[in-house]
């Protein structure tokens, strides 16, 4: 499959070579610092260190959930690497970091598919859809130790036939205290990071949304979480999203309607005391999402996006423009990032 590059925006700026790899090497130091801080914690150890604390999802409970899977000659169980949610018939919301390989290069659109109807990854009725376009939020910086604006939209080549999930348009302060439900195929046991235990079946776990102050405490993420992110979980740990859940939805039921408020982004370990799960704040980005798919007017002043501008990956089997170096997309996307910062 060949690819086209579409970058909307008037100008781009050169950015530093920071873009070559993923998160900075200081992560090791940060992790050590966090570990040191954790030693001072008086929080009780959770009974189990594992969606971690969740339950298997009943058939049709969350029909708009999707699995991102590599294209390879293997089962969907082995190929699944992230989650996502259908927000319109041919549009999927996921995390931007899901679209990068371990070296920080953007995946090619032909490298992965989106699977619907896959509550169980071994279900023969699961349907895989080709991704025709992918749009990363222009402020996403894959190199950052704490990547903000971790959001991407995937446009599918074929109809999912799925009723989409509603996206919340609530201001963040109205989300705190709500019971979030996170859904995914991520690890259910992370007690041995070398051998996480992954389920075939989709799991869901309930976690309360906490204030940014709580997860920005010195004992937690120490001021690194911003208003475009949400924190959810328990001080004592024990329930959390985990490896393989990235990109998947966190939803709340508000006035009887299930609404997505978050996208699984990252976390230190899984379900550890004081280390809440970090989610991309979906309502914060409604303005950006609306530029592609109208999902409703936000009930607050959302982030301002000057253009539909984005790092966009486009794919067309009939295109003759040749294969694009998708790493260049990251550089250009970060160029937009630099412009916005300047």
């Amino acid at each position: 499959m060949q690819h086209l590059l579409k970058i909307a925006g008037n100008r781009t700026r050169r950015v530093s070579a920071l873009l070559a790899v993923w998160f900075c090497a200081s992560a090791g130091l940060s992790a050590q610092a966090m570990a040191d801080e954790r030693d001072l914690s008086v929080s009780p150890t959770p009974e189990k260190n594992f969606i971690i604390g969740g339950t298997p999802v009943q058939q049709e409970s969350y029909p708009w959930t999707v699995a991102l899977a590599h294209v390879a000659n293997a089962s969907l169980v082995q190929r699944q690497f992230c989650g996502g949610s259908v927000i319109a018939d041919t549009w999927v919301l996921t995390a931007a970091h899901c679209l990068f390989d371990r070296s920080g290069n953007l995946l090619s659109l032909s490298d992965f598919t989106v699977a619907t109807n896959a509550r169980n990854l071994r279900d023969p009725d699961a349907q895989e859809h080709v991704v025709s376009n992918a749009y990363l939020h222009p402020d996403y910086n894959h190199n950052a130790n704490n990547p903000h604006s971790d959001l991407a939209l995937l446009e599918l080549a074929t109809s999912t036939g799925v009723t989409p999930v509603a996206l919340s348009t609530k201001a963040t302060e109205n989300l705190v205290g709500l019971q979030g439900t996170v859904i995914g195929w991520g690890a259910v046991d992370f007690s041995d990071p070398a051998s996480p235990l992954f389920p075939d079946q989709q799991y869901a776990v309930d976690v309360p949304v906490v204030t940014l102050d709580v997860c920005n405490a010195p004992i937690s993420y120490a001021g690194s979480i911003f208003e475009n992110q949400l924190c959810a979980g328990f001080a004592q740990g024990g329930r959390d999203s985990c490896v393989g859940d990235s990109g998947g939805p966190m939803v709340v039921t508000y006035q009887g309607v299930v609404q997505q408020i978050g996208v699984v982004s990252f976390g230190f370990g899984c379900a550890l005391p004081n280390y809440y799960g970090i989610y991309t704040n979906v309502p914060y980005f409604i303005g950006w999402i609306n530029q592609y798919v109208f999902v409703g007017e936000p009930e607050f002043e959302p982030e301002v996006s000057s253009s539909r501008g984005t790092t966009a990956i486009s794919s067309s089997g009939s295109s003759s423009s040749g294969s694009t170096s998708l790493f260049a997309l990251l550089i250009l996307g970060a160029g937009l990032f630099a412009r916005r910062r300047s």
Partner: protein
């Protein structure tokens, strides 16, 4: 007739010795190679070469792992070969294990039957390969040494316990050692 049989036997013995093929740690085209593979090589390339070379069934295992704080799952494949007719630096080769993340080689382990002489020989090879970045090996404990440079971590150690009488040699992608520290631990 008796002499003919002896000569024939001796010839066959020599042929058998000569047929043992040797592996080592070396440098080729600016890249450090262990068991003829270098870090970053693609799964298909390594496995195709190893299958043809060793002509034994590999023991493979596939699973998903995490890297750093990400909650994205990454594919991890481990394949081990135990060929019978190979040597490593002149000693009988017991096992070669290839580790792949996202279908790229991130670690190679070699286990060979040998003791001090083999350990010293491999140490000398390592020292030569990493002289510019690691003038002196870092000692990780008794008979365990590590070199770093060229975006790699290279190590050699003497086997202990059930592995006594073996020398373990490994080559690891420095980045993966940071991203998944457990992968750099024995």
């Amino acid at each position: 007739m008796k002499h003919c049989v002896m000569v024939l036997g001796l010839s066959l013995g020599l042929c058998a010795c000569a047929s043992k093929q040797g592996l080592s740690i070396s440098e080729s085209n600016g890249q450090v190679t262990l068991a003829e593979s270098h870090i970053g090589e693609k799964y298909d390339v390594v496995m195709q070469r190893a299958n043809a070379q060793f002509a034994v069934e590999p023991h493979c295992e596939a699973r998903k792992i995490s890297l750093k704080k990400q909650r994205k799952a990454f594919n991890y494949d481990v394949c081990g070969f135990s060929p019978e007719s190979y040597e490593f630096s002149g000693a009988p080769l017991a096992e070669v294990v290839y580790h792949f993340v996202e279908r790229e080689l991130v670690r190679v382990d070699v286990r060979a039957e040998g003791e001090d002489a083999l350990l010293n020989e491999v140490k000398a090879d390592m020292q030569s390969l990493f002289a510019s970045s690691s003038p002196h090996a870092e000692s990780l404990g008794e008979d365990s040494y590590q070199w770093s440079g060229k975006s790699l971590l290279a190590g050699v150690r003497a086997g202990v316990g059930a592995s006594r009488g073996n020398i373990h040699v490994r080559l690891i992608d420095e980045t993966i050692a940071e991203d998944a520290p457990w992968l750099a631990v024995e």
